[in-house]
Symmetry: D2
Subunit: 264 residues, 4 copies
């Protein structure tokens, strides 16, 4: 059951203080992975987050968190340096999980609302897309990955559909997928496997920020063949499957985890 | 480790005497699933197959095999009836694995070889495609599936590519996928999850039957980012992942298991 | 405007007496193609159909129709033989258009309705899928295609989605697409181009046969970015584009013609 | 033949001085569209380009070119202002064609070469991706599009494949496609249709900049079912088809124009 215990392996989770990232941290800790969470939260939320982190620690694993702006290169360097100091000799990163939701949701054309601009694309693609490469490459260059490491990030059906207000996030998601494919190709012989999970509509804080999220939730419940939304735990479960030894031949793929939502 | 032990669950594997099917039987038996294999082999091969089956039985699980023509409705009915007699009260089928390779490989146009005809399509689609539905539906109607069952079949990149001589198999594979999607949709509320594994080029007896298989093997080794072919064990590993509890939200999907071969 | 006039080229349209096929016949006749329609209609509908055909003939083109069961090999042979007798020396087929809707719509599981069976798959795949190959190959073997011929058939979003009752048609559509890809590959050097048009939901007699078609129509009108259904003329327009000289480098493709319906 | 003559419609072509853009300008001018080309070339190339532009003008259409850095917002504003002054009362833009190739090709990991960095992604995505939105939106806000306008850009198989050194361009291409889908959705009721052409490997100056382009060319010639590369004229032909009235129901799509190259 606790198959990763005593293997000196870590999961580094970007955006691990809520939603898919937090659920992933919990699941992986249960299976014995040490957890490092990089997140960005205001002081007001710190107490609730600390409780979650304490819960994770009860699995008897190593735990470390960084509350900072993970998108700044110098912050990233600081975090990685500090993280390295924590590691014992044989410690390595088994999985980098990218669960970053920080996008600008605006209409391309509107009489009433602010319209989508170049910057909205650029910032969203940086935060939700290219940041995967930045973190992956920095950790790789620091020689921190295990010999059979797994890079996992989260995409959505917005990779092939068009939704009102969602253009910048859609572009970020497909960028994330393109980066994942090239990591899978170019680092295959370094033992890296990289995949995206295409999660169904999940009732998270990020979803609630989308204008009209109530309607999205309502429609998804009806549309999903299993007649419920995706939960963060559904997705965390598959992250766990993807880091198991048996998943080592899956790479460069986009795996729907949505109870069949993409079928309808 | 042996998580399916004592859960009174079976894997029914169509085409389980070689290739992906046999590797799957071995993997699932290791994890405690009881195994029922339906296969079709001439007497000449029986000895070698028996040795494989003995090996599987050493896992201390229930084992049953049927050597017959699984495509005939009356044979199917016989097998299912006989299988039912084996089952103890609470025994159920956890997974139906469809690993049937019986297709006609012919060119559409040729001066020298026999050309592809209507019958080649019809027979290949029946054997490699619709047979999934026939078996699934008969087992479902006999109330043999567990409350959380997994239907798994094998497809290939031929689902979106066109290869010389491969038209009938290609049509069978996409039919298999279409059936998988509709099973996922229509039986979701019956607890059924259905997925296809898109295996990379695997060096099996079936592959060796394809004219020009040497060149396919050679090209795939070069093309694969991991510089080797897919093995039956690579695929069996993912069948195992897909029947675990954690995979219950994956349904209606096509999952590449190919070391990234589809990327190039 | 009448670019195909005096080029001695024919369009042979399977299923040309209604819906997409009839609209295609009208459009292509306007541009000077001679028209041969193969259809299957009861005597009751003949009068209305004759009016449509008279309308087509007013374009001053050659016209021929066959009312018969196009799926029987011997009927196909008869039609082709009779058609050949019509042709002048230099006459060739520019385009074969496959617009056949003859599928069995049944649920996979139901307490009240007849459930989908093997035969439903087999018959639907034959009628809506493999028949493309049968006709194409017979016409090719009879040396009837022009040096730059276009094979066009109609698919739907059911090629990647799962809809209740639609499994057999879905399987037929993906079979049609697989056949199209292999024709594109294997006959490329014979000058053949083959493509599928993925039409949006179109209000035709075929659609009205689907249980729940009212709801489909209603939902499609809302969902379509252009807020209306696809018309047969929308699709016929693109058939016309695909037979123009400028489309000669498009082959093996699936082209959505749906006003963006697939985006949402 | 010259169907756009006297319709007071323009094609605005970004990157129209070479490759796909120039071929498009020539094709559309032949059919009577007025041409505005925005390009960026050093003085050394100006003479050759001028000859090409003179050739285009011989079609008796309006012609204007701007040699400037089209990616700078202030330059874009200048160009648009100057272009507006050219227009007669009823002149409108029928099509915006985005043919911009300005990407950074680097390996993600290398001992010898400079490795891909954040900036390479950011700049390439800006130049080859987001610039489509910037230009489209500026022209839309300036009310310059006709009531039935067509936005066309060029993508490649790199939208789903991973190629060595190509990660940044791949990300830019999928961004372009995501933007195209959202334009198709959000501007449908403004009469805008937006599509991408997925061109096969084309022997252009841009291709020659890719390390190993000889091998790409060699492999593509073999792999293509039609045994030749794609030409700029092949692609220009389909741009022409996509701006015709008959294409008005095609939107939000990616259309392969590659002689079937994507099939193999």
């Amino acid at each position: 059951m606790r198959e990763f215990k005593d293997r000196n392996e870590w999961a580094l989770i970007l955006g691990g203080s809520s939603g898919l990232g937090l659920a992933t941290a919990k699941k992986l800790a249960q299976h014995g992975l040490n957890i490092c969470i990089v997140h960005r939260n205001p002081r007001l939320q710190q107490e609730a987050i600390t409780r979650e982190f304490e819960f994770i620690k009860q699995n008897g694993i190593q735990f470390k968190s960084f509350n900072c702006d993970a998108f700044k290169p110098e912050k990233r360097a600081e975090v990685i340096n500090e993280f390295k100091l924590l590691l014992r000799d044989t410690d390595k990163i088994k999985t980098l999980v990218h669960s970053v939701a920080k996008g600008n949701l605006k209409p391309m054309v509107s009489d009433q609302n602010i319209e989508l601009k170049n910057d909205d694309f650029a910032l969203t693609i940086q935060a939700m897309g290219i940041s995967l490469y930045d973190w992956f490459k920095s950790l790789f260059d620091a020689n921190l990955f295990s010999k059979d490491a797994r890079i996992i990030s989260f995409t959505s059906e917005g990779n092939s559909k068009a939704w009102q207000n969602y253009a910048a996030v859609s572009a970020a998601k497909v960028t994330l997928e393109a980066i994942t494919r090239n990591i899978a190709l170019e680092f295959a012989l370094h033992g890296i496997k990289a995949n995206c999970i295409q999660a169904g509509v999940t009732d998270t804080a990020s979803l609630r920020l989308i204008p009209g999220s109530d309607e999205i939730i309502n429609r998804s419940e009806k549309r999903n063949p299993n007649k419920r939304l995706t939960t963060p735990e559904d997705v965390a479960n598959v992250v766990y499957l993807l880091i198991k030894d048996e998943a080592s031949w899956i790479t460069g793929s986009i795996i729907p985890v949505d109870g069949g939502e993409h079928l309808s």
